[in-house]
Amino acid sequence: MSGFVKWLPDAVAQGATVYTDTKVDKLVWSGDRISEVQARFLDGKTRPTLRKLIVRPAKGVLLAVGAIGTPGVLLRSGLDVKKRVGKYTHIHPVTICIGKYPEPTFPAYGVPDNMWSPKFGDGNTGYLVETGSFFPVLNASATLQHGDALHKIMLDYYPSGAIMYAHHMTGFEQNEEYGRVELDKYGEPELDYKLARSNVKAMQESLEVMSKIHFAAGATSVLHLRNPPLEVTPTSGLDEIRKIDFAKPQSATIFTVHVMGGCQMNKDQERACVNNDFKLRGMRNLWVVDASIFPTGLGANPQVTIYALALWAAREICELHGKPFALNHQNGGVWPWPGY
């Protein structure tokens, strides 16, 4: 379900105007109200042009720029709620390994069709194990190797390889800082992320678990994207995995997905930036509706949760303005996924 296929066409059908290739510079505010959104149009390569767009909201502004972009807009606008905006930002640190099989695996053939298991997902630092398609550039961009050894890995692990990855839960260790979004010297948001020690241990474990799954499925060796690369076989190398210190940058490649938090809706009043009605604290006509309001990482893909929060926010805003809120299927239409 894509925003371009479903949500934006629905909004346009209801009278919305969509400005593409624009970038919000800042929100102009006074007291508890946003009075103006200042944006610039971008060129085909995302460079700001001199053309400006000014929007003066009749009822309010709904900010949905993501867990890096939303703190960026708020910080540029001087709307840092008690110095909390951008704090406690979460990613899912992702560990990856590639199994080598005796037969071709066609790892990039057909429609991407992932399979996952929640078996190891419990607890504050659980992880979701997943397999999916992968393309040569993924391996090339993540292998910390050069020269003939790099090309050998590409040949060995591409045509008969299978990828497996684990996304790790974050956000439940109260004493950990996790990520922080701040503005760089040009006013662009920049994420600095610190791995929690408890995640490091779980990341070592997930690589060991995934190696064993590969071997059980018939892999003859498993490549780990350590620096330098680590090749493990059923009889050697597994004990090396526990020595990878992910907290030391560039000891191994770590992927990141699903940026969340940084503008939290949280029952902990010391961390909350957004109230339960999605309004930014202290503002009457500014709602935040995206993954930045998550209080922790999810441990799974956040898209459906973001959709659910958007529906909740839409209902809140409709009720505030005395408008009826009804989903399409409640009026006889199909919603949201047939048979879901």
């Binding site: 995302t46 040569p136 292998t143 003939d148 590409m154 040949l155 591409y158 760089d184 030391k248």
Partner: protein, 180 residues
């Protein structure tokens, strides 16, 4: 700070010019940084890498469009820094510009960066090998070398095969709780 450092590195960097490097259509890389990038990519990928990735320099230049401005400056400064003789003396004991070294000497520098205790040096290694390798393997001329046929080709050897055997045939539970 990055601007001042960049100016200093720019004064200190005098890369070897390579005839293969064309700079007339580049926007972010200039003659110096393009030649340094070439020297790094040659060390990472091997000689004649442009035969399989003829648009390598132009592709990296295009990537730079989409970087944050601060990140783009950091990458360009990293290229200039790597070319300075002082840096190579400190890292690998060679008082020469990176691009003036043999490939083996450059790979020795890369090894020193990879194994360094200093985070910034390991970051340099990761940036150089990741940018070089990923740009190289996006070129479809490299794909036959790794038996990759592309995403849109038919594989009759797959389509003609019988379906795989059931998963966990002796397990009475369904794989998915809701699967029927």
């Amino acid at each position: 700070m990055a601007g001042l450092l960049g100016s200093v590195f720019n004064l200190m960097a005098h890369p070897k010019k390579r005839s293969e490097v064309k700079v007339d259509k580049l926007e972010w890389l200039n003659e110096k940084t393009a030649n340094i990038l070439f020297a790094i990519a040659e060390a990472v990928l091997g000689e004649n890498f442009l035969l399989k990735a003829p648009k390598f320099i132009e592709t990296v230049d295009d990537y730079l469009h989409y970087q944050r401005r601060a990140q783009r400056e950091q990458f360009l400064n990293a290229l200039l820094l790597t070319e300075t003789a002082t840096f190579n003396l400190l890292v690998g004991g060679k008082l020469r510009g990176f691009s003036h070294m043999t490939i083996n000497e450059r790979r020795t520098i890369l090894e020193k960066l990879r194994g360094s205790d200093r985070e910034i040096r390991r970051n340099l290694y990761a940036a150089f090998v990741n940018v070089s390798a990923s740009t190289y393997y996006t070129s479809d001329l490299t794909w036959p070398d790794i038996n990759y046929a592309g995403v849109s080709v038919d594989h009759p050897e797959i389509l003609g095969n019988p379906p795989p055997i059931p998963w966990r045939p002796d397990d009475p539970r369904p794989v998915e709780p809701n699967a029927q």
